[in-house]
C-alpha cells in the first residue's frame, strides 16, 4: 500500500510562477533593448550587461552570506532590476558608477527589506535616483544616438529633448522658437546648433536620453505583450499616460508658447518606460484595480508638476517613488468590490 499524501485543497496549481512572470517582463523589454543597441551600439550592451551581472551578483552574495537563505537569483527578478536600471541611465555611464547603482538597487532597495516582494519602492528607480543625486554630471550627459556600432568614441553628448526645452523656456524663449530655430551651443569649444529631434525621431527613439526610454513604440510593444500575458493590467499605464496628456494638454491650451504640447511629453523623458515598466512593478504598486487607477493618476500629475515646475526636467522617477510611498495607504483605503456588496435584484 502506497503512503498517500494528505494536504488541504486545492490539489492542483495553475502553474504560474514568479520566475515565469519575471521572464515575461524580460521578454517584454527586448524590443526596447534592441532599439537602444541600434542607436547607442556597444555602449548600450556594455551598460546593460554590467547592470544585470552586478545586480545578480549582489543578490547572490547578500542572500548567501548576509541573509543565509536559499539562492533567489533564478527567479529572474534581479535580471529585471538590472535591465531596468540600465534603461534608466545614459549609455556612456562609467562602469564603476553602474556597479554602485546596482549595489543600491539590490542591496539597499531590495534585499534590505527581505528580497523579492518585500521592497516598498521600485529598486531600479531607487538606484537611478541615488545615482542622479550622487553623480549628476555623469548621469545627465547623454550621448547622441549614432547608428549601430559606429563606435563609442564618436558619440557626441547632447541634452535630452525634454531637459533642453525646459532650460530654454526657463531662459524666456517660446516653445516655437526653441523647436523651430534650435539653439546655439558651445560644445568642446565649438559652436554647434542643437535642434530638438523631429517627432518621428522621438517616437522611434532617435534622440538623446537614457538607454531604455528611447523608443516609445518599442516600449508600447513590450507593454502590449505584458498585457496579453496578464503580467500587468491596463489600469496604471492608461491612467498614468492619460493624466499626463490631460494635464499637459490643459497647460498647453492655456499658453502653447510657455508649455509644450502633450504629444511631446508623451514620447520624451522616459514617460513610456515609467508608465509601462516601472510604475506597473507589481511589488511596489497597489493591489486593487481602483487603487491602481489612483496610483496611475498620482504618478501622472506628479510627473507633470515636477517636469513643469520642479528642479528636474524629468519627473517620472520621482513621481513613481513618491507614489510608491502611498501604496500601503491606497491598499488600506481601497478594498476590492466584495461579492454581494451591491445587491442588484432584477
Amino acid at each position: 500500500m502506497n503512503l498517500l499524501t494528505v494536504s488541504g485543497s486545492p490539489h492542483v496549481h495553475g502553474g504560474n510562477s514568479t520566475k515565469k512572470i519575471m521572464f515575461g517582463v524580460i521578454y517584454a523589454m527586448i524590443p526596447a533593448l534592441l532599439v537602444s543597441v541600434y542607436f547607442f551600439g556597444l555602449g548600450a550592451i556594455k551598460v546593460t550587461l554590467v547592470a544585470v551581472l552586478a545586480c545578480v551578483f549582489f543578490e547572490w552574495v547578500i542572500q548567501k552570506y548576509l541573509i543565509k537563505g536559499p539562492s533567489t537569483i533564478h527567479d529572474g527578478s534581479a535580471i529585471v532590476s538590472g535591465i531596468l536600471l540600465a534603461f534608466n541611465v545614459p549609455s556612456n555611464l562609467p562602469i564603476w558608477i553602474i556597479i554602485i547603482g546596482a549595489l543600491v538597487t539590490i542591496g539597499v532597495a531590495k534585499m534590505s527589506f527581505g528580497g523579492v516582494g518585500k521592497n516598498p519602492f521600485n529598486p531600479a528607480l531607487v538606484g537611478r535616483v541615488f545615482l542622479l543625486l550622487s553623480f549628476p554630471v555623469q548621469m545627465t550627459s547623454w550621448p547622441k544616438p549614432a547608428v549601430l556600432f559606429s563606435g563609442l568614441a564618436d558619440a557626441v553628448t547632447g541634452p535630452t529633448a525634454l531637459g533642453h526645452l525646459k532650460e530654454e523656456i526657463g531662459r524666456g524663449r517660446t516653445v516655437t522658437d526653441v523647436m523651430e530655430n534650435g539653439t546655439k551651443m558651445i560644445v568642446d569649444g565649438q559652436e554647434v546648433l542643437y535642434e530638438i529631434p523631429q517627432y518621428m525621431d522621438l517616437f522611434l527613439g532617435n534622440m538623446g536620453g537614457s538607454l531604455g526610454e528611447m523608443s516609445a513604440i518599442a516600449l508600447v510593444l513590450g507593454g502590449i505583450y505584458m498585457l496579453f500575458r496578464k503580467i500587468i493590467s491596463w489600469h496604471i499605464p492608461v491612467t498614468y499616460i492619460g493624466s499626463v496628456v490631460v494635464f499637459t494638454g490643459i497647460l498647453w491650451a492655456i499658453d502653447p508658447e510657455a508649455y509644450v504640447n502633450p504629444a511631446f511629453h508623451l514620447i520624451t523623458g522616459g514617460l513610456m518606460l515609467g508608465a509601462i515598466f516601472m510604475a506597473t512593478d507589481m511589488v511596489s504598486s497597489p493591489m486593487s484595480n481602483k487603487g491602481q487607477l489612483i496610483f496611475g493618476l498620482g504618478c501622472g500629475v506628479l510627473t507633470v508638476i515636477i517636469r513643469v515646475w520642479g528642479a528636474y526636467p524629468e519627473g517620472v522617477s520621482f513621481a513613481i517613488l513618491i507614489m510608491n510611498a502611498f501604496v500601503p495607504l491606497i491598499n488600506n483605503g481601497l478594498k476590492p468590490k466584495r461579492f454581494g456588496e451591491v445587491v442588484k435584484n432584477g
Binding site: L4, H11, S17, P336, G340, V343, G346
Partner: protein
C-alpha cells in the same frame, strides 16, 4: 450567439480533464461488506436504530436523524449487521459506523424497483417534504445539507426560483454530466417535485457550455414541462458555488452571511433532483449514487452507480487497481476535494468522485515570497483579499481575519491555485476561519 452568462467577480479556468465524460454509468457489483457512517450530512449525527446481528433489507432505516438539521440513513444492502463500531472514514478520523455483511440483494417491499417513468406527481407539498426527509435525501453536490430543510422556507421569506446546479465546475468529475444525459427525464420530474415542494413556478438548470450534449438533450426534455429552463453558462470555476451560480443564472447576489433564500432562490444539485424523483415517485431512499473514478495515471476511468458504504478500494479495483506511482487519492474534485489518507474508507452520500494523482502531480509547488501581484485578489469569486487574510491568520491576528470577511470565503481554492509564489493561501485562510468561528461562538455564548 448571445453572450453566455457567468458570475461577475473573479474565477479561474483550470484544465478540465473530463476523461470519463464518455463513460456511461455502470452499476458496481455488490460488495461483500459495507461500512455506513452514521453521520453523513451536515448537522447533528443520526442515531443508530439497528443492533449487532439484526437482519436488514435494502432501503431499511438503520439510523434516524432526530434533530431538525440531520438526516435518516438506510441500509444500502441486504444482510446481517456485523457490528456498530468506530471506523476510519473519509475525514481521516474514526467515526461511528454500521458495518453490514452482504447477503443476497433483498429490497424493502415498499420500494418500486421498476424502471418505468412515473410522471404524475400526486404527493402534496407537505408530503413531498416529509418524503424527502424520510428517505434521507441530502445535497449530493458535496455539501450534504439535508434537502428537506432547504424546502422549508423560513417565515417572512419567499422562494421565487429554484436553481438547479448542473454546472459540475470541478475538473475531472463527470458524475453529474452522465446523470443529466442518462437520467434526464427522472431528473426533470425531480425538479418538478422540488418546485411543488417549494411552491415556485420557475426553475433554471445551470449547465456550463463545455457540455453541449447535455444542454441540447435537456432543452429537448424540458419542453414538455412548464417553468423549467436550461441556462447555458460560460465555463468558469467556481460556478458551482451556490452564490456564484445564483449570480450567474439570475443575476442576484446573496449578501454576506445570508442564505440564497434572501434573494428568493433555492439551489439544488442535479443528483439531488434525481434522488428526489426516486424518493417521492419510487419510494426509494438514498442508498446509492453516481461516483466518478478518474486520474491521469489510471488505465481506465468511469462513472459508477455505487451503493453507499462500499469501500473506495473496490471502486479503484474496478478500473484496474491503484497504480504503483499513486501518491495522492482525493475524494471529490481537485479544487475542493479531500485528500484521503487511506483508500479503505467507505463511499458516502457526499462522494462525487475518486481522483488519483501520481507523484509529480501530488507535490505542491515550492513556496516563495509573495510578490504582491494581486492575482489572488483578482480571482477570488467572493471579492476578498486572500493574501491579506492569509497574512493576518499567519500572524494570529484573528480580529483582522474576521474584519476582512474571511467567513465569506467559500474555500474554492482559486487563490492558492493561481498564486505564482505558491503561497498556501487557503491553508492559512481555513485556519483563520476556524479560529474566527470559535471566537464567534464564544461571543454568542456570552
Amino acid at each position: 450567439m448571445s453572450v453566455l452568462k457567468t458570475f461577475k467577480i473573479g474565477g479561474v479556468h483550470p484544465p478540465e480533464c473530463k476523461y470519463s465524460a464518455g463513460e456511461a454509468i455502470k452499476a458496481l457489483e455488490l460488495p461483500k461488506q459495507v461500512t455506513i457512517p452514521i453521520a453523513q450530512s451536515l448537522g447533528a449525527p443520526s442515531k443508530a436504530v439497528v443492533a449487532k446481528g439484526d437482519e436488514v433489507k435494502v432501503g431499511q432505516l438503520i439510523a434516524k436523524g432526530e434533530a431538525f438539521i440531520s438526516s435518516n440513513i438506510h441500509s444500502s444492502v441486504s444482510g446481517k449487521v456485523l457490528k456498530l463500531d468506530e471506523v476510519l472514514d473519509q475525514s481521516g478520523y474514526r467515526r461511528p459506523c454500521i458495518i453490514i455483511n452482504v447477503d443476497g440483494d433483498e429490497w424493502d417491499e415498499n420500494i418500486d424497483r421498476s424502471t418505468e417513468l412515473k410522471k404524475d406527481i400526486t404527493a402534496t407539498k407537505e408530503e413531498i417534504i416529509k418524503k424527502i426527509q424520510e428517505m434521507g435525501i441530502v445535497g449530493l453536490g458535496g455539501a450534504t445539507f439535508p434537502s428537506h430543510v432547504k424546502l422549508m422556507v423560513p417565515d417572512g421569506k419567499k422562494a421565487e426560483v429554484l436553481v438547479i446546479n448542473g454546472v459540475e465546475c470541478e475538473p475531472y468529475l463527470t458524475a453529474d454530466h452522465r446523470l443529466m444525459l442518462e437520467m434526464a427525464d427522472e431528473m426533470v420530474i425531480g425538479i418538478q417535485i422540488l418546485m411543488k415542494g417549494l411552491d415556485v413556478k420557475r426553475a433554471i438548470v445551470g449547465v456550463e457550455n463545455n457540455k453541449p450534449d447535455v444542454i441540447e438533450h435537456l432543452n429537448n426534455r424540458v419542453k414538455d414541462y412548464p417553468g423549467i429552463e436550461v441556462c447555458a453558462l460560460k465555463v468558469q470555476y467556481p460556478q458551482g458555488g451556490e452564490k456564484q451560480l445564483i449570480d450567474a443564472a439570475i443575476g442576484r447576489q446573496v449578501p454576506s452571511g445570508k442564505l440564497p433564500i434572501e434573494v428568493g432562490a433555492v439551489v439544488n444539485n442535479v443528483g439531488t433532483a434525481f434522488a428526489v424523483y426516486e424518493a417521492v415517485q419510487k419510494n426509494k431512499p438514498l442508498i446509492d449514487r453516481v461516483v466518478t473514478v478518474t486520474g491521469k495515471n489510471l488505465k481506465e476511468t468511469g462513472n459508477f452507480m455505487v451503493r453507499i458504504g462500499t469501500s473506495v478500494n473496490e471502486l479503484i479495483e474496478k478500473v484496474g487497481g491503484l497504480p504503483e506511482d499513486t501518491a495522492k487519492v482525493v475524494s471529490g474534485g481537485p479544487m475542493m476535494g479531500k485528500a484521503l489518507n487511506s483508500t479503505d474508507v467507505p463511499v458516502v452520500k457526499g462522494t462525487s468522485g475518486i481522483l488519483t494523482f501520481e507523484e509529480g502531480e501530488a507535490k505542491r509547488v515550492e513556496t516563495t515570497n509573495c510578490i504582491r501581484c494581486a492575482k489572488c485578489i483578482t480571482v477570488c469569486p467572493m471579492g476578498l483579499e486572500p493574501v491579506l487574510i492569509a497574512q493576518y491568520a499567519g500572524n494570529e491576528l484573528y480580529e483582522n481575519v474576521e474584519a476582512e470577511r474571511a467567513m465569506d470565503c467559500i474555500e474554492c481554492g482559486s487563490c492558492s491555485y493561481t498564486c505564482p509564489a505558491g503561497q498556501p493561501l487557503l491553508d492559512y485562510i481555513r485556519l483563520g476561519k476556524y479560529k474566527v468561528g470559535e471566537i464567534i461562538r464564544n461571543r454568542s455564548k456570552k
